[in-house]
Amino acid sequence: MSLDPNIILGLYVASIVLFILALRWMSEVRTSKYGNWSASLGMAIAVVATLLAYTIQRIDLLLGALAVGLIIGVPIAARVPTTALPQRTAMSQAFGSLAVALVGVAEYHVDAPNVPPFTMTVLSVEMILGFLTFAGSCIAFGKLQELIPGRPFVYPGKNFVSLAVLALAGIAGIYLIIEPSQGFALYILAGFALIFGFLLVMGIGGADMPTVIAILNSYTGMSAAALGFVLDNKILIVAGSLDGSSGFVLAVIMSQAMNRSFTNVLFGGVGAKVAKGTGAVAQKEARPVQSYAAEDVATILDNASKVVIVPGYGMAVAQAQHTVKELTDILQERGIDVKYGIHPVAGRMPGHMNVLLAEAQVPYEQLWEMEKINPEFPDTDVVIVVGANDVTNPAARTKVDSPLYGMPIMNVDKARTVIFIKRSMNPGFSGADNELFYLPNTWMVFGDAKKVLSDLVAAMKKS
């Protein structure tokens, strides 16, 4: 199909503009639907333009691949519960990064044995990024799906071993640049990159998954951009770097919200810090807490005039968002002011809580970000903490030796009463014991979040 190249170029430009507009429109709820439509259209144009510009002989393979993509992709999008969005993000990153890695290998085989040094350099970087992201995303998926323990896997010299593995992958890459005909080095590169990705994410705790997911997202974009350099294709460069910077910015926002330096997260230094916290838990003495039943909570809520609900990942696990909304409705009917306080790293991916609550039809005007809700706590009657833990731990403000120290938290302890719904006394992902449990104004209600909340709703209806 010989088409005027200017038409193809024009289509690529249109596609780039649509991608940029998509991100612009994605910045607020009012315009977000246009964001998605614009990006979808941009992608369709990019693919059609490519098919027009490059003649694919094996239409059968192309159609087969597209059919597989549809058969797997559509059910995933339609069926994944909102609570499982972090896992599905990790999984799609695994797919995406494997795709770029395999395309990199394919491109090597197209050019081999005479790969120009520039091409080989970019391809090496691209394949290392692709394979490490693939392995990392698989581990992140495993941790989020709880197939693998969320605890960071730490051992002495962890960072040294990881960096040595990465260096070996780099050496294989350099060898390929010098001797591009030595295809075996490519498999060594791929192997070490996979091991590095595995070690990197195994060493990071479940609590840091929002940051990890964002970083891996960035890597996938970077490898797509690198392919753009190899194939000299502008749309790959633009879309890849937009994705790369998006993941990077989100990772920075997440690590700032946890008061960690970005390099600390990048090099998996988090693990070491967390391990210290786990040690501290082992020595904790049994301290008394005040345990109450749902009925007791109903009476205190009856007399409240201002309530703040602080959700966390536990709400997602228990699928309690609808029951939370039901409770909110009852409270509001009685003229009680209800707000939600959302910590930036609550849940397991950026913005996860907002999606869950939106699903339960909580209007987003009721969702308050941490900086805005914190000044409200001193004159709040009751705070209900549903499945959040580390983000409410006052030790982050006071205890210098706590692994959480310095992390901005929800100051729920300043409220008159804190209702803490929790399955057990186990610490959060950080491994740190929560000081909040032992405060005189904290009421612990043990049990599954959904069960406790439905009991609470039932008790409220009776009274």
Binding site: N36, S40, I56, A65, G73, V80, A99, F118, V249, G351
Partner: protein
């Protein structure tokens, strides 16, 4: 066919022909990165999850790369790898955009006001 090379495909060498091409690509890369940072910084936290799903789908633009590589060779290894690449990337394209649409609808749903 030689006109096609202007597109920047350079099928035969698969590398920029001179430093100027590389510089142009670098410039595009840097500009897009800065633009991306500025755009993402202004996205409300409320929408970070659909944003990630969306950028994830956009990164499946690697499908374009897979298609180009597929057209470049009839070598079996290349075809297998590139076809897998197309299948994986297209899975992300479909699931990504459909999922963002689903999430966006959650945010748009008007709750019943009492």
């Amino acid at each position: 066919m030689s006109m096609m090379l202007d597109l920047g495909s350079q099928i035969t060498t698969a590398a920029p022909s001179g430093p100027s091409d590389l510089l142009v690509n670098l410039l595009i890369f840097l500009m897009a990165t800065f633009l991306g940072v500025e755009l993402i910084r202004h996205v409300t936290r409320l929408l970070h999850t659909p944003l990630m799903a969306l950028t994830n789908a956009i990164s499946s633009v690697s499908m374009v790369a897979a298609l180009i590589v597929m057209s470049e060779s009839s070598n079996v290894t290349v075809l297998i790898l590139a076809t897998l690449g197309v299948a994986l990337a297209f899975t992300n394209v479909t699931s990504g955009f459909l999922l963002v649409e689903r999430i966006n609808r959650l945010f748009r749903k008007k709750p019943v006001k009492k």
